[in-house]
């Protein structure tokens, strides 16, 4: 069977075959603004149908759009972060088509003067830095949502989403494998999160993409006929849909067929793509400049202000965490992927510049506690000062590591200062050596056997004795100091 030899790993569906894939993505990111792109309705998710609407987004006769400046500023920051050329003048255009979820009969989008041209997004795959060139970035509005009522000849339209601001980020066809597509998409998602312009929530549709796929003989420079897979909203769907589609196209070509230009839908239940409409049904959108909205231009000051507000991007951040702060590649990698934790670390470092212990506690114990509580740092509103106090208490030897872990579990039960928590839990360590010595002497007297073992050079027995002292002190002893003292007393 011809097809079997083209199926490699999911990373390279066509490894070992005579074909290579050419993939381009159109990413739709919902801009995280409080209100819609062209009116003042809220953009909240999950409100009852048709409750976040007004004459403008309902397209009532006579209503006019006005531009949400916040959305434009968000778009501008993405454009700058991706290294695009900022349009000197950018304008909106109407994309005309009829559909029940489109109340105006046109979508306000951008056609020939998008806010950003060109640019590049870098990402890492298999420890290697790669990049995808961008063709353009433009602003547009979302449509509403059609629901077909099961068992009835009825469709319902919810216009809460209509007019929600979207950024469309279009890549050049630079992507060669599904794994690259996923890695690029992940890197882009992270950038958007770092910029604070998109919540990245794929289940709610805040971030989704269309994939254009074609295949060509390996090494060829020509572009084959492409199929477009619409509306993929998870990493897995992107990878699986691309994998399926590449294999499908290779099979078609190897059996002597031709690829037709068409739009396809991915069905996750059956893990396959299906034809939705062909080129002959392709729309002529009759784009023309939106006469209700004057063109926008940006002053040098506006562009500089936007540039200044672009934070450190994930790859630079990872490099800095390793290079300047001395974190391990592993710690840096984990932190960079978790944008909330990463930003939290920044705030902690302003209070106490000790990256290693902070990163360690953040990535391990704090993260575990957050997973346990199924909530994020921002949602739980943790004050960085309290977290710093906790880590310092361990670092300074005021409490033991184990006690530190217990403090993490108590961290979200109130907002008492860490010092108060430590007192409340009776966690303060015994720091007076004379008190420790007395407790040690008593333990040594009770356990002559292990004492002899230690004298005979059995190291493990020291741990046993330390454990006994810890128990006797109800955990208030500093284990490391206790071990030192035992060695001293036993003359080693």
């Amino acid at each position: 069977m011809a097809a079997t030899n083209v199926v490699g790993g999911r990373g390279d569906s066509h490894a070992g075959s005579g074909w290579e894939a050419v993939i381009g993505l159109e990413v739709h990111a919902q801009l995280a603004t409080r209100t819609k792109m062209f009116c003042r309705c809220e953009t909240r998710f999950g409100a009852p149908p048709n409750t976040l609407v007004c004459p403008v987004c309902l397209a009532l006769p006579g209503a006019l759009p006005t531009i949400n400046r916040e959305a434009v500023r968000h778009a501008l920051r993405v454009v700058l972060a991706c290294g695009c050329d900022v349009a000197r003048t950018t304008k909106f255009d109407r994309k005309n088509y009829f559909y029940p979820d489109l109340p105006k009969g046109y979508q306000i989008s951008q056609f020939d003067q998008p806010i950003g041209d060109g640019g590049r997004v870098r990402y890492e795959l298999d420890g290697e830095q790669r990049s995808v060139r961008l063709a353009r970035i433009h602003m547009e509005e979302d449509a509403g949502k059609n629901t077909h009522v099961a068992g009835r000849q009825v469709s319902q339209v919810d216009l809460n989403r209509a007019g929600v601001p979207l950024l469309e980020i279009v890549t050049e066809p630079d992507i060669a494998t599904p794994a690259d597509a996923v890695a690029f998409f992940g890197a882009l998602r992270l950038m958007l999160l770092y910029l604070g312009v998109c919540d990245g929530n794929m289940e709610e549709g805040s971030l989704r993409c269309d994939c254009n796929v074609s295949i060509r003989p390996r090494g060829s420079l020509e572009l084959g006929t492409r199929a477009e897979i619409k509306n993929l909203n998870s990493f897995t769907f992107i990878e699986n849909a691309l994998h399926y589609e590449i294999v499908r196209q290779v099979r078609v070509r190897e059996s002597g067929g031709a690829i037709v230009q068409e739009t396809r839908l991915y069905d996750p239940d059956r893990d396959e793509t299906r034809s939705m409409r062909g080129k002959e049904e392709a729309h002529d959108y009759r784009y023309f400049p939106e006469p209700d909205l004057p063109p926008l231009s940006f002053s040098a000051d506006e562009i500089e202000a936007a540039r200044a507000s672009v934070p450190e991007m994930p790859l630079e951040r990872a490099a800095r965490l390793v290079g300047e702060l001395g974190l391990s590649e592993y710690h840096a990698g984990v932190l960079v992927q978790d944008h909330e934790a990463s930003r939290f670390l920044d705030r902690c470092l302003e209070l106490w510049p000790e990256p290693k212990p902070l990163a360690n506690w953040l990535i391990n114990d704090l993260k575990e506690e957050l997973n346990h509580r199924k909530a994020g740092l921002v949602a739980l509103g943790l004050d960085p000062q309290r977290f710093v106090d906790l880590v310092r208490a361990v670092d300074d030897g005021i409490v033991s590591k184990q006690q530190g872990r217990e403090l993490v579990r108590k961290l979200f039960d109130g907002d008492a200062p860490i010092a108060a928590l430590i007192r409340e839990l009776g966690f303060e360590q015994i720091r007076d050596d004379s008190v420790l010595r007395a407790q040690i002497e008593s333990v040594l007297a009770d356990h002559p056997g292990p004492v002899d073992d230690v004298r005979a050079g059995k190291k493990n027995s020291i741990n046993f004795l330390v454990g006994q002292v810890m128990r006797a002190s109800k955990g208030k002893a500093d284990a490391a100091r206790v071990a030192q003292l035992i060695e001293e007393i036993l003359g080693r």
Binding site: G62, T66, N96, F288
Partner: protein, 505 residues
């Protein structure tokens, strides 16, 4: 016997001085409408109860010494394409026959805030597409000067009502002459402000880059009064201008002394009727006599303005009218077979022939493969027309010519050939393409007794200069003060076959 004030300015002052009440002003407006509308069919809806209640509320405020707006008690009407919470906002189209707006247009809200009272909505060509009001889906409005003739359009209802009544503000809209041409045909003063002067929020769009709300009144002074109330930036309309709104009425006093007037030869093409040409030339001479300096100028690209206008306006209309799809608001056919059938039949049954023609033209000129040859070319012509005006306005302060090449024509005469109907817009569309303020004011009548309009254009945002020129002309002529014999405010309304001088009290 009637208490009607001759002008809106006078009515406004009488209410302020407690010489009359808002209720009697509104009752008088309603009475006038009742008296004339049977003959001219200018009005689609009258809001009797709502208007009287609103007037009573204003009178209570006046009686208790509370603050009232600058137009307290002044009745007003709006064209059917301007959104009001009262009644329907149909744009005189079947597709919106039942459409009730949940909000007021900004211009309406501003008039209400100024204390004015909505009394009626006026008939129009469906969605503003037409120059005779014969394209209304509901009824044909008649010219008060000659009921067998059209009132012009698309604001034909407003123009006819303005000619036959007094003491009201009438808002219309102008996309290619829809205020000025009917004003010219009905012998009233119709002013299209600078594009962006008046918010379009709540104006049902025909062609967004050309549409502008303005007033049709008995005088330029009343136009200035109305403009002062409705002009100004609006956060709901991104194309509204944030220019200062001066006291337009106060600025009228400056006169025309020293103003330079350009008369473009292109405004007198072969199609201009000889009587129109003569009367306009006399009017220009009059302005010269008043102290203006007159010179000939040239706007070479104006000859291409009308075809450019037809393409640009149709392109925008094809998109603007897409929202009337039978799904969201407006007419929906019963029992559609499927989605396409729902769209197709709702629109086929809801839109009239002229609207369909423009949607088809607009869809065609925006289509892939035709865009460059038609739409883009039309935009290029538009730029050239705008530049022509800019160049001329470096040397003159106003450009004058006729409003329409012909006077009002008989009902039905131009309905069989759309090109003949489009031809009457030839002199009004340049102002829309260039976004300039322009006014039409009566400058006499043909030997048959049909009014003729003089058109004055000004620089963008120099609405005051245009109004000033018109007011100066009107202060030394009485063409604007003449009224048709059926006019409602005269006690002997039915008497006389020719026009009568309109009293200025």
């Amino acid at each position: 016997m009637t208490t009607s004030a001759a002008t809106v300015l006078e009515l406004r002052d009488r209410v302020r001085r407690h010489e009359t009440t808002a209720q009697s002003a509104v009752a008088d407006a309603l009475r006038q409408i009742d008296a004339v509308d049977g003959a001219i069919a200018a009005v689609g809806q009258v809001f009797r109860d709502e208007a009287l209640a609103a007037a009573a509320a204003i009178d209570r405020r006046l009686a208790s010494g509370d603050a009232v707006g600058p137009l307290a008690g002044v009745p007003f009407t709006v064209k059917e394409n301007i959104a009001t919470v009262e009644g329907t906002t149909s744009a005189s189209s079947r597709i919106l026959e039942q459409h009730r707006s949940v909000y007021d247009a900004t211009a309406v809200a501003r008039l209400r805030r100024a204390g004015a009272v909505l009394v009626a909505k006026t008939n129009m060509d469906e969605f503003g597409m037409g120059s005779s009001t014969e394209n209304s889906a509901f009824h044909v409005t008649r010219n008060p000067w000659r009921p067998t003739h059209v009132p012009g359009g698309s604001s034909g209802g407003a123009a006819a009502l303005s000619a036959a009544t007094r003491g009201m503000i009438h808002l219309g809209s102008d996309t290619g002459g829809s205020i000025r041409q009917p004003a010219s045909y009905c012998g009233v003063t119709g002013f299209k402000p600078t594009y962006g002067r008046v918010s379009r929020y709540g104006l049902l769009a025909f062609a967004s880059s050309l549409d502008q709300i303005g007033a049709l009144q008995q005088s330029a002074a009343d136009c200035a009064l109305a403009l002062g109330a409705i002009a100004g930036e609006d956060a709901m309309d991104a194309t509204s201008r944030d220019a200062e709104v001066p006291d337009f009425v106060a600025l009228l006093a400056r006169g025309v002394e020293g103003l330079r007037i350009g008369v473009p030869r292109e405004f007198f093409p072969g199609g201009v009727d000889a009587e129109v040409r003569e009367l306009v030339e006399v009017a220009v001479a009059k302005l010269e006599g008043l102290g203006a300096e007159v010179r000939e100028v040239s706007l070479p690209h104006v000859r291409y303005a009308n075809p450019a206008y037809v393409l640009v306006s149709a392109a925008e209309a094809s998109s603007n009218l897409a929202r009337y799809d039978g799904i969201h608001c407006g007419r929906r056919v019963a029992d559609p077979a499927d989605l396409i059938d729902l769209y197709a039949r709702s629109r086929a049954e809801g839109f009239g022939a002229e609207v369909k023609r423009r949607i088809l033209i607009g869809t065609f000129v925006l289509s892939s493969g035709y865009y460059d040859a038609f739409y883009r070319k039309a935009l290029q012509v538009r730029s050239l027309v705008r530049r022509d005006f800019e160049r001329v306005f470096a040397d003159v302060d106003a450009v004058v010519g006729p409003t329409s090449p012909v006077p009002a024509f008989p009902i039905g005469e131009r309905m069989d050939d759309p090109m003949k109907l489009y031809a009457v817009d030839v002199l009004t569309v340049p102002a829309n393409l260039a976004g300039l303020p322009a006014i039409s004011l009566p400058c006499g009548s043909t030997r048959d007794g049909l009014p003729i309009g003089l058109q004055v254009h000004g620089r963008a945002l120099e609405d005051d200069v245009v109004l000033r020129l018109a007011a100066a002309y009107q202060s030394s002529t009485d063409h604007h003060a003449r009224a048709p014999s059926i006019c409602a405010w005269r006690s002997d309304a039915a008497a006389g076959s020719s026009g009568t001088a309109r009293g200025r009290s």
